[in-house]
Amino acid sequence: MLDLLFETEWSPYLAGAGIGILLWCSFLFSNKPLGCSTAFSRTSGMIESIFCPDKVKNKEYYKMFVPEIEWQWMMVFGIILGACISSVLSGSFQISFVPQTFQAAFGDNILLRFLMALVGGIMMGLGARWSWGCTSGHGISGMSQLSLASLVAVMGFFVAGIGTAMILYSW
């Protein structure tokens, strides 16, 4: 049983079931769905308030999502730690700049990879807040609650995601 902690990769069914159980815990103990993108909004607001605190205070959006460290922020911070612990235990932790698949298709240009990731990240940040959720908020929490908005958003994530990846990699 303990060996499982040191394995590099689990069956996706087991990993998924574990995430499902975490969803029970977050609803039961914290009265919250699992979601990640609001934490990025709050962090963005926190960084902006270092430079112009008054402007941030007056923004309508930050009145709804106050830029502060709260449950979800700690959760996203926990994801970094949890993935780090998992990869260190299995010996797969590695500082890497360009993923293999990307390298095979576009070469090992770090700047190109960072730029594509940056542009993708900007679109994703916009889209996540635009649809009020991300792959965990809509994909796992929302779908589990049978939310209509989440079903539509998840279809959008994958339709546009598959289309974009197919176009990129057909070059």
């Binding site: 103990f29 990307f102 916009l126 807040r129 609650q145 209509l148 959008g156």
Partner: protein, 185 residues
């Protein structure tokens, strides 16, 4: 139920951290904190992401609906709209294809040492969410309310009892996993 626990702010911060550590651990063990796995899913060559998500949905869906029927928890749903869910979903998807991580797995990828997730992805998401916050009043006014959905949930939309829809979905999701197995994906 657990309302005292919900109101204890310090305890909630610790719970958030613990749930996050578990989440990051499972995502990493499932292989979905890797760009190669996610882009493989979007190129339809590797179905790990779907397997992880569908398994999480099956277990999560049954559990939270049982707890809801026992009045242990409340749901958190809202009315989507074409302007919000469709446009936002598609924007997110384009970002998904370019970045190859999502907001949760980008955090996990940072944890396992992916620098493109940190300096490209996470920085980009911070800029994107910041831009949204900046333009929120105008976007909310002109776009988000376009074509609001009449209901919050699928059972309400199709006028069937919640549990019947849960059973149909669980059966369908098992069907997806079985189908992938048959195809050898």
């Amino acid at each position: 139920m657990f309302t005292k626990c919900h109101a204890n702010e310090r305890l909630q911060l610790i719970l958030g951290l613990l749930i996050g550590i578990g989440f990051g651990f499972f995502l990493q063990k499932g292989g979905v904190t890797s760009y190669d796995t996610i882009i493989g899913q979007l190129l339809l060559t590797d179905f790990t992401v779907v397997k992880v998500m569908v398994s999480a949905m099956i277990v999560g869906m049954i559990g939270i609906h049982v707890m809801k029927s026992l009045n242990l928890i409340e749901f958190h749903t809202f009315k989507g709209s074409i302007g919000s869910s469709v446009i936002g979903g598609l924007l997110f998807g384009i970002g998904f294809g370019l970045l190859g991580y999502c907001p949760g797995t980008v955090a996990g990828a940072i944890g396992q040492g992916q620098m493109d997730a940190l300096f490209g992805g996470a920085v980009g998401i911070l800029i994107g969410t910041g831009l949204f916050a900046h333009f929120y009043p105008a976007i909310n006014d002109k776009i988000l309310s376009i074509g609001q959905f009449p209901v919050e949930t699928i059972p309400e939309l199709i006028h069937l009892p919640r549990w019947i829809v849960v059973l149909v979905f669980v059966a369908g999701l098992f069907g997806v996993l079985w189908f992938l197995q048959i195809l050898g994906l």
